[in-house]
Amino acid sequence: MKQTLVALVEDKPGVLNRVANLFRRRNFNIESLAVGHSETPGVSRMTIVTDEEEYLRRNIVRTNLLKMVNVITVEDVTDIPSVIRETALIKVRIDATKRREVMDLAEMYRGRIVDVANHSLIVEVTGESTKIDSMLEVLEPIGIVEVMRTGKIAMRRGSVTAREKNGTSGT
């Protein structure tokens, strides 16, 4: 299974660069990385997905991240019950005969049509990555011309927050 990490980082210039640089420097592969503001001003939240499978390697990814001065906490949520979501925008080329079919499919996936033009539609869909994979599969024969996926964002289920889950100290 892919490794999913949630990190709280100080919102300082170059932090994204530092994180990306660390992965390159340590020869780890980032599958996706999503960053945005968190509930606390000055603190950003990152969800990082790596292709590390093995437990010890995963731990090294986590501890290397934690070691960075600007990284406040890191939690590996791979094996923890969490809500993991991804959003995709999918542009499908269609003619009038296919419009209905795409709209029906979008509805089945609880997606939305967010743009309509004469020869194309944009479908927005949110869910687990497998759901998006599946949506892409069914739209493929109709004619996908553009896909944008956000990468995963994750949050632990229940009342525990990422901030409370502090790891070992940075060094």
Partner: protein
């Protein structure tokens, strides 16, 4: 009420507040405003004008390693800053606390490829523990405080601060030195270990029959020498240091079985391979000490104590990883260490040692001067009491074998990066702290030519350093690999040298040449009587080798030994 200060003043003000006595640097356009402000601070700190910014970083590093304090280097933007990269990487690999301050083009010009602009925070990101680009003069003082704090705490390391020109010019009215505690939410001091981890460690240690302590640089950095001594003494546990762990336990302590690794003592490598418990203290299982990873110490349980969590299970899988300051960990563990008679194990190690004694190069009578014997003479001539700064190559390994160190921080050497050219500048830096001992440099004829321009700095500062050039006419360590693994095809390893005696004279320092063992001590006496830098060229055997040697990637105990008629058929 504070005074009105410019960013340039604040740099020096903060250095003084941090207790800095000496800085190593080189001026240039983008740092000129700061240098102008230095005029107001000459009575509070000393500036050493280096001859190359790489030298400034190694000097700061040498000063830091000798003193345990933070070393400081300063340079201009662009080429001045990029010249520091080697020194930063050297300090990073060896966890040495230095702070480098670089000038930068005006923040408004950044990104425009201005004259001598270089993305220095980008370039140095992977070779610093942390770095800063200062964009607001109001943040400068706090950033400098943070930089010092980060450099010297936790696992120490280099921090770089890039200060644009306009920030140096900007003024603060009523400057008050910040005193609030440093608040870095992502960076916390080490804590006590949970009791169950301590108990697990005790169970492993108290039940081990053939334990070995691997003592790394962390012992010195954590000042955990007394705790290491107690652990080994109480449990009768042999200790083998890494190259940078040398001095963590006195070499004369019978439980110190000598350095491990590629050119380590055979008995130490055998002990590691045969051990049933490794207790790794502040070391990181570098490939130069493990040999082949999947045959490394195959029958042992492993405890790894390190302040850096990301070192645990990085190269070697361990049974118990303890993440905290080594001193803290050992103070928790030591009280319940049981006194054990481990004499069978210690005897076995002594038997391995016996064979090494037979093969010892000190027993060889050679018509030419042998580097190992020359280095042993330096030990004799300094009563084993000097701070030795060694460079990289055969002479470095021979120093670690033939100059026994009794105390911590008396061997300064570039271990992790293996940076040729480290020793001469590092010794100059060290000489600003070391006043009660002599500083001796052991350097090859290749290495000295990498940073030889710093001889001028040594003379200008009248630095009390004694430089022994072990001249074998070759890049000896590389030649050794060619001889062993490339059928003695010596591509680009013979190297010529200037006349060092004349060169020393040209730089304005005494220079001597020796090629006989018996001449070494008398010449050392002359050097010792001289106040200021001295150079001694030791002309040694060109084709000697360093033994034992674990070939790269071989099993740790698959050592190539110095041939000896008692063990091998050999022509003499």
């Amino acid at each position: 009420m504070g005074k009105t200060l410019t960013g340039a003043d604040i740099i020096w003000e903060c250095l003084v507040q941090e207790g800095v006595e000496v800085v190593f640097g080189y001026p240039g356009g983008a740092i000129l405003r700061a240098y102008d402000a230095l005029n107001n601070y000459y009575d509070q700190l000393h500036h050493v004008l280096v001859r190359h910014e790489q030298g400034a970083t190694h000097m700061a590093d040498g000063y830091a390693r000798a003193s345990g304090k933070v070393g400081v280097a300063i340079a201009t933007s662009g080429p001045g800053a990029t010249n520091m990269v080697t020194g930063l990487a050297t300090a990073m690999m060896d966890s040495s606390p230095i702070v480098c301050i670089t000038g930068q083009v005006a923040s408004t010009a950044i990104g425009g490829d201005a004259f001598q602009e270089c993305d220095v925070t980008g370039v140095t990101m992977p070779v610093t523990k942390h770095n800063y680009l200062v964009t607001d003069v109001n943040e400068l003082a706090q950033i400098i405080r943070e930089a010092f704090y980060i450099a010297r705490t936790g696992r120490p390391g280099p921090v770089l601060i890039d200060v644009p020109k306009n920030v140096q010019f900007a003024e603060i009215e009523n400057f008050v030195y910040p005193t609030e505690p440093i608040n870095l939410p992502g960076y916390q001091p080490p804590k006590n270990l949970p009791q169950e981890q301590v108990d697990k460690a005790l169970e492993l240690i108290n039940n081990a029959k053939k334990p070995v302590i691997l003592a790394g640089h962390g012992v010195l950095l954590a000042n955990a020498m007394p705790e290491l001594l107690e652990l080994s003494q109480k449990g009768n546990i042999p200790v083998t240091p890494t190259l940078l762990g040398i001095g963590g336990l006195p070499a004369s302590n019978p439980l110190n079985i000598g350095m491990m690794g590629m050119h380590g003592e055979a008995c130490a490598n055998h002990a590691i391979q045969e051990s049933d418990l490794l207790i790794a203290c502040g070391m990181r299982f570098d490939d130069r000490v493990t040999g082949k990873l999947n045959t490394y110490s195959p029958n042992s349980k492993k405890i790894h104590i390190d302040i850096d969590a990301s070192e645990i299970n990085k190269n070697i899988r361990v049974d118990l990883g303890l993440v905290t300051d080594l001193g803290i960990a050992l103070r928790q563990i030591n009280p319940k260490i049981e006194q054990k008679d481990r004499s069978a194990w210690l005897h076995q190690i002594r038997d391995w040692q016996e064979e090494s004694n037979q093969r010892d190069v000190l027993n060889i009578e050679s018509p030419t001067l042998l580097a190992a014997q020359a280095i042993r003479k330096v030990w004799e001539g300094t009563a084993g009491n000097a701070v030795i700064v060694s460079d990289v190559g055969q002479h470095q390994m021979l120093e670690s074998q033939y100059y026994p160190h009794e105390e911590p921080n008396t061997l300064l050497t570039s271990g992790g990066l293996g940076t040729m050219g480290f020793s001469v500048p590092a010794s100059i830096g060290a000489s600003f702290h070391v006043k009660d001992r002599e500083v001796w440099v052991i350097v090859g004829d290749g290495c000295i030519q990498m940073t030889i321009m710093e001889l001028a700095t040594a003379v200008q500062e009248n630095a009390n350093i004694n430089i022994c050039i072990i001249n074998n006419g070759h890049l000896g360590m590389v030649r050794q690999w060619q001889q062993m693994f490339y059928d003695a095809r010596y591509a680009e390893t013979p190297i010529s040298s200037p006349n060092y005696v004349k060169l020393a004279e040209a730089y304005g320092m005494p220079g001597y040449r020796v090629d006989k063992l018996e001449d070494i001590i008398p010449i050392m006496r002359k050097a010792q009587a001289h106040d200021g830098p001295v150079l001694i060229e030791m002309v040694v055997e060109q084709y000697d080798m360093v033994y034992p040697m674990v070939p790269a990637g071989a099993d740790l105990d698959a050592m190539i030994r110095r041939p000896h008629p008692q063990f091998e058929d050999m022509e003499i």
